[in-house]
Amino acid sequence: MMRDTQENTPFAIRQFSPAQLREALRKMHLIRLFEEGAEESYMRGLIHGTMHLSIGQEASAVATCMELTDADKITSTHRGHGHCIAKGADVGRMFAEFFGKETGYCHGRGGSMHIADVKTGNLGANGIVGGGLPIAVGAALTAKRLGRDDVTVCFFGDGANNEGAFHEALNMAAIWKLPVIFVCENNKYGMSTAAAYATAVPNIADRAVAYSMPGVTVDGNDFSAVAEALHDAIARARAGEGPSLVENLTYRWRGHSKSDRNRYRTKDEIEEWMSRDPIARFRAELIAHGVLDEAEADAVEAEAQAAVAAGIDFARQSPAPGIGDVTKFVHAEVAA
């Protein structure tokens, strides 16, 4: 297959191998299909509680994690399913967690809002807006103090940029020059409140100036643009030059959570953003640049579909935690 070598070739096509790009497309489909599967399971009563879907934001999650290894850490948000899959989690264990099963990543104790996979470096989704920001700085402090070269990516939403924790975290990351990349997924609304109303600066990346770090705003539905911004920020972090702030402009197609009646945004707006589907766009880009053909792209999607079906089966057949174990995992078990 011919690789495009022209000047105007998108960064991602130049930077990553066809196998990596194919895997990125697979993960984007996996996120979309996983969340559709979770939504359907919720409707059928297999999942209780609530969940926050990131459908429409898949490019942001996958492109951000492209150059991360398992040694690199992420902190995630209540809208964190995509981050978890992008970082390498298994959808079977994720579904098991959502179904409240002992085989889930958190042994059924965390659910959607606390989904984590410590082995692949995902320190966890967080139910508190802004909760992960200082924690990410702490993870970066560990890397620096122990002389490791891993970096931490801190995902947060536009809503979190008005939490005190955001400002405290960015300031400390900057004064100590820590290897952390703050990735804001600006999907325009913190629940129902528009970022344009709630935030004093036009772009959240503008906040970076106050903390003496680079700040860039990119089209978060453009896989390559996100991957390129992260490439620069990760290189800076690994070189010991300190933190960066990257703002991915994106949009969630679904409501904030299962209780959302979408009163704060218009149908036109939702439809307009749905026409900018990041998966369709990335797929078209890969085909246009000869990375994949139509049949190969279909196969990638089918592969993700099969993984989701198998994951739901695994979750359904998994055992529930024992009722007597309600206090298990509160503290370390003391060796007898």
Binding site: L123, P134, I135, V137, G138, R145, H167, E168, H331, A332
Partner: protein
């Protein structure tokens, strides 16, 4: 982890603050993952001179001044603990932990559980607390009960220099978050402290004065006031058993219940606000236990007033239990006058 108790024969007189500093120095020497964090703990030596000269001995990478960012600073400590460091984070005053409740209560306390045991947060939060310094309402509080209400946290309250060192080293050896409430009025108090590394176990109270007429369960500075009261009562033939609680969470049920079964009388003394305080929990655990049948009098509590800590020195003293209060109520209990 080497939790083995190694007590050198050498015992010196150290202040409570010096004992805590010695514990931190030992920890810094033994484990490269230990870092100290907090406001003005470096060159300034800490608001109460607890870290003192540690920055000169271990450098600014291990004795880190943080900006005045309690929430963020506590969160950095949580994230560092989650990924391999063992931070000891000093709040300048325990009152300021109110700014960091999110990270302590929603994050540190719950991460192990939320993640199904797949992660741990071995962080220590040191909190100078208590009244008696004339610092009024926002620099004098006792928040033990707040944190003691949260599953996932352990809460200790040393009353002597030796305990302060041993409990801090125990907190560091613990794989879960531990809050250490240090009483500000005790920082200058001297007492015998064994050299070297040793651990005072978390979750174990100590009978610091045996007696058979009334049990007084006290913590931190109240232990000293209770001992003083017990010495006075002894002259009248009343033998009070004084228990130094040491740990608020988890409570040492066995020691408390055994003592109440022996004396049949219980007085709880604590500095935190009386309502819903530590003594309420101790009273309830005794009332729910087999010790209930042994009670010869209603359980009594002496706790902080239902008011913020006032500035006026007489009001300030009146706002928390003092020695004469303990002496009076313990006497009434022992004489069957309650």
């Amino acid at each position: 982890m080497n939790a083995q108790v190694q007590i050198d024969a050498q015992v010196r007189e150290l202040s409570y603050a010096e004992a805590i500093r010695e514990a931190m120095a030992i920890a810094l020497e033994r484990d490269p993952a230990v870092v100290l964090m907090g406001e003005d703990i470096g060159t300034y030596g800490g608001a109460f001179q607890v870290t003192g000269d540690l920055i000169d001995r271990f450098g600014p990478d291990r004795v880190m001044d943080t900006p005045i960012s309690e929430l963020g600073g506590a969160g950095v400590a949580v994230g560092a603990a989650l990924t391999g460091l063992k931070p000891i984070f000093e709040f300048q005053f325990s009152d300021f932990a109110a700014l960091a409740m999110e990270q302590i209560v929603n994050q540190a306390a719950k991460l192990r559980y939320m993640l199904g045991g797949e992660a741990e947060v071995p962080v220590v939060f040191r909190m100078p607390s208590g009244s008696g310094t004339g610092a009024a309402a926002q620099h004098s509080q006792s928040f033990e009960a707040w944190f003691g209400h949260v599953p996932g946290l352990k809460v200790v309250q040393p009353s002597t220099p030796a305990e302060a060192k041993g409990l801090l080293l125990a907190a560091l050896a613990d794989p879960d978050p531990v809050i250490v409430f240090e009483h500000k009025l005790l920082y200058k108090m001297k007492g015998p402290v064994p050299a070297g590394h040793y651990i005072t176990p978390i979750g174990k109270a100590a009978v610091v004065r045996p007696g058979q007429h009334v049990t007084i369960v006290a913590s931190a500075i109240m232990v000293h006031r209770a001992l003083e009261a017990a010495a006075k009562l002894a002259r009248e033939g009343i033998e009070a058993e004084v228990i130094d609680l040491r740990t608020v969470r988890p409570l040492d049920r066995e020691t408390i219940i055994a003592s109440v079964k022996k004396t049949g009388k219980l007085l709880c003394v604590y500095e935190g606000v009386k309502t819903l305080g530590v003594g309420a929990e101790i009273s309830a655990l005794v009332a729910e236990s087999e010790a209930f049948d042994y009670l010869d009098a209603p359980i009594q509590r002496l706790g902080g007033a239902e008011a913020p800590i006032p500035y006026n020195p007489d009001l300030e003293r009146a706002a928390v239990p003092q020695m004469p209060d303990i002496e009076r109520v313990a006497r009434q209990l022992a004489k069957g006058e309650v």
